[in-house]
């Protein structure tokens, strides 16, 4: 059964924008070194983020429930991206600090 055989409401521009943002969050999350370690704690959330990426890339047409779930999870995903990002930048700054020490 293909998407064409059913009538779906195409995702609204507003929802497309949400998916685009979530796609960005997912990029920072997966780029983090913590990603592999922390992924199992956030499996469901990450799955939603990947689904949003699938919608953003026009691979799937979401149901209303899925639109609601992704819209509802956007804030949490943003926090997660910041968390991952922070831990990354903390590590970076530590390294920078050590390097500076060595130079001294």
């Amino acid at each position: 059964m293909s998407a064409d055989s059913k009538t779906f409401n195409p995702p609204t521009a507003e929802f497309q924008a949400i998916c685009a943002r979530v796609d960005g969050y997912l990029t920072s999350i997966t780029a983090s070194e913590e990603f592999i370690d922390l992924s199992s704690d956030n499996e469901e959330l990450l799955q939603l983020a990947f689904v949003a990426r699938g919608i953003f890339r026009e691979l799937i047409v979401p149901s209303k429930e899925l639109v609601d779930a992704i819209t509802g999870a956007e804030g949490e995903l943003k926090n997660l991206a910041e968390e991952f990002g922070e831990s990354e930048s903390e590590e970076d700054s530590d390294e920078d600090f050590e390097e500076e020490d060595e130079e001294d």
């Binding site: 998407a3 059913k6 990947f50 890339r57 149901s63 899925l66």
Partner: protein
């Protein structure tokens, strides 16, 4: 060398017919290896097989009727496996044996040392060589063991043939008794156990071995009957499409159990115990060719092919409403599937092209965690969207279907369940429909008897075949009545599906 009992019977009664049957079999490549393993195949037949583009050369070289010139030519073959096989031929003369005793290859010498017709001079030569090899390898191993902290053991594999040989001179036996008697050969038996199996060993040596912890009993032979492993040549005759019926009739008369499944032969007398012949029925696939193809006439039977490096390959079917237990294990025969020996076959076509729905099913039971190590976002994306699609929260676009197919085929070339197409016309002459009712009843009764004997897993194979018989559209009411008496939940389920 083992022989094919059905061919032996025909040869005994009608030598001319036997040769005609062999000549006819030789024309079919699938029979060549088993003919070369039949101990009474004449030299001329082996020469004919040798003309083939890819003859079973190792088998021919070991055969007692291998043409002399072929043996002579292979004494100096560049292929060490050819020389190894030549060293195992029972008809070498002493000069050929002496020539192989000087071979550079250790495996050739080891094979040669197992011969019962070695002269004392050759045994001594091989023993001196084995001692040198053992010393060198033991030294090498000791230095490795020192570095790795492992326990250094003596390496004695080269001695096993000599240890077993009844002609080995006394002083060599005494020397062997001083080696590490617990050192294991490749097959797991120890040097002590091998010595113990030498019929020429003195009673006092046996006592010494016993004191050293070697079991007093002679080891059971672990040698595999290669003829049975390959399948009897006479069984191959039943597998070849359109094999001349006069030969099939002769084999039936000689008591070949496959005659029961051949629709063009009368029932006659059959010496058939299901449990005795089960291995043959399974390996030759005659029973599957008879019972599986017409299941597709039910309309709702789907065949699958599992390809898995871990579990091995298997072919099986699914009928809605019927629970067939599957426990795939590499090297094990599983009763609800055809798993041994898995080769390309004409009557089954594996559809390797997967559609998006199949790929969704491949992802279904896996989690992000299982894929995270691939470090490829595409696989995680494919996993996520396929989970969402399978829980009906979304619909794939055409691009999505293509994406999923491409990711699925990249990541799942192993542990994949493909659809399989059964081609009944290629399974002929075997066909449940084509069998007489008399034969169908005889087969059903034979399998029921096998089931009721409850031997090992054999009764589960019997149960599977009874399920097939119950499901086949052309099974008569008389047979259904026989099946109703079988004490099996699965057979009852199959009957309920057939006669709702």
């Amino acid at each position: 060398m083992p022989t094919d009992p059905y061919l032996d019977r025909i040869e005994e009664q009608n030598p001319e017919l036997y040769l005609d049957l062999l000549s006819s079999l030789i024309k079919h490549k699938i029979a060549n290896k088993s003919i070369a393993r039949h101990g009474r195949t004449p030299s001329e037949a082996l020469s004919t097989i040798l003309k083939d583009s890819d003859p079973p050369i190792y088998e021919i070289l070991q055969h007692p009727n291998c043409p002399r010139e072929v043996l002579e030519a292979n004494l100096r073959s560049p292929d060490s496996f050819n020389r190894m096989s030549t060293a195992s031929n029972p008809n070498l003369d002493q000069s050929q044996i002496e020539s192989l005793a000087k071979d550079d290859d250790a495996s050739v010498k080891i094979h040669l040392s197992r011969r019962p017709d070695l002269s004392e001079g050759v045994i001594r030569e091989l023993f001196e060589w084995a001692k040198k090899e053992s010393r060198e390898e033991t030294e090498q191993w000791s230095s490795i063991a020192e570095e790795t902290g492992e326990e250094a053991t003596q390496k004695t594999s080269w001695f096993y043939g000599i240890a077993k040989n009844p002609d080995t001179p006394r002083d060599i036996i005494e020397a062997l008794l001083k080696f590490d008697l617990k050192a294991e050969d490749y097959d797991g038996s120890t040097l002590g156990q091998t010595l113990m199996s030498n019929p020429a060993l003195r009673e006092e040596d046996k006592a010494l071995l016993s004191i050293n912890g070697v079991p007093p009993k002679k080891l059971e032979s672990q040698e595999v009957n290669m003829l049975e492993h390959e399948g009897l040549p006479s069984s191959k005759a039943f597998e070849i499409p359109d094999f001349p019926i006069q030969f099939i009739q002769a084999l039936a008369k000689a008591g070949h159990p496959f005659a029961l499944f051949h629709p063009d032969l009368p029932l006659g007398e059959f010496p058939t115990s299901f449990n005795d012949y089960l291995d043959y029925f399974i390996k030759s696939e005659i029973i599957y060719r008879t019972l599986w193809p017409e299941l597709i006439e039910r309309g709702n039977t789907k065949f699958f092919y599992l390809r898995s490096s871990h579990e091995g390959d298997a072919l099986y079917f699914h009928v809605p409403g019927l629970k067939l237990e599957h426990n795939f294990m590499r090297g094990e025969m599983t009763y609800n599937s055809m798993s041994y020996p898995f080769i390309d076959r004409d009557w089954v076509e594996v559809i390797e092209e997967q559609d998006a729905d199949d790929v969704v099913a491949l992802f279904e039971y896996r989690t992000i965690d299982e894929f995270i190590d691939y470090e490829a976002e595409e696989i995680l994306l494919a996993l996520s969207i396929s989970h969402t699609v399978s829980s009906n929260e979304a619909e794939l676009t055409e691009t999505g279907r293509e994406f999923l197919k491409s990711e699925g085929s990249t990541y799942f070339d192993d542990d994949v369940e493909y659809h399989a197409r059964i081609l009944p016309e290629k399974a002929l002459p075997y066909s449940w429909k084509r069998l007489s009712e008399e034969k169908r009843i005889a087969i059903t009764k034979m399998v029921i008897e096998g089931f009721n004997e409850k031997i090992d897993t054999k009764y589960q194979f019997a149960e599977h075949f009874l399920v097939c018989i119950a499901l086949l559209p052309s099974t008569s009411d008389a047979i259904h009545s026989l099946l109703e008496e079988v004490d099996s939940r699965t057979v009852r389920e199959a009957l309920n599906i057939s006669n709702p």
